[in-house]
Symmetry: C2
Subunit: 129 residues, 2 copies
Amino acid sequence: MDAQALIDAVTFDDDGLVLAIAQDADTQQVLMVAYMNEATLRQTLDTGQMTYWSRSRQAVWQKGETSGNIQRVRSVRVDCDGDALLFGVEQVGDAACHTGHRSCFYRRFEEGTLVDAGELIFDPDDVYG
Amino acid sequence: MDAQALIDAVTFDDDGLVLAIAQDADTQQVLMVAYMNEATLRQTLDTGQMTYWSRSRQAVWQKGETSGNIQRVRSVRVDCDGDALLFGVEQVGDAACHTGHRSCFYRRFEEGTLVDAGELIFDPDDVYG
């Protein structure tokens, strides 16, 4: 896919990164947010699979590379000032979060405390333990 | 509201900021993404109205302060590593974006070009022109 029109609309930050929000294309649930640089954005569009830039590891992070929980790109949107992208994705394997929850946003703030209000897809201890 | 449990779960970045995604609590449409510091996060919880920190203006930005398009907080979630918040909001005045679109993510990338695929609520020229 010719990514140039999208690249041109993106304002990368001082570290060369742009925010990438992954939203379930069917349910509209927000699954996670991470970053992409220009190269991983191009890779995402070329492969149709969400590919982030890991700030902590300073490395290409093809989502689901090890877990199999890849995210297939269904749609791409850019916001008004170009510093954030919104991807509609198909979440393969159901869990976007390494904790085993469907969404990374599984903790809800209620009456002064945080409650686990997320759907647990797998026990991470079974995977990483 | 006692915000401390939430504050404790947040990892503010080097600039003292945390990402804040605003999602329509009814339709699940992602409306915008911006930043909060600890003070505006507390203000958001205290007032029940989305209050961001403007990085460009380096100032408190109570959403809708001038336009009337405020965002009422319905729910608050925090992600696994605490560097992003997801707010379910009621968007008053229908348009979250200063361009007059309902969502800031009104441009969709299709077949190598960006198309305006967003719902235009008002003509910004009528407001700011």
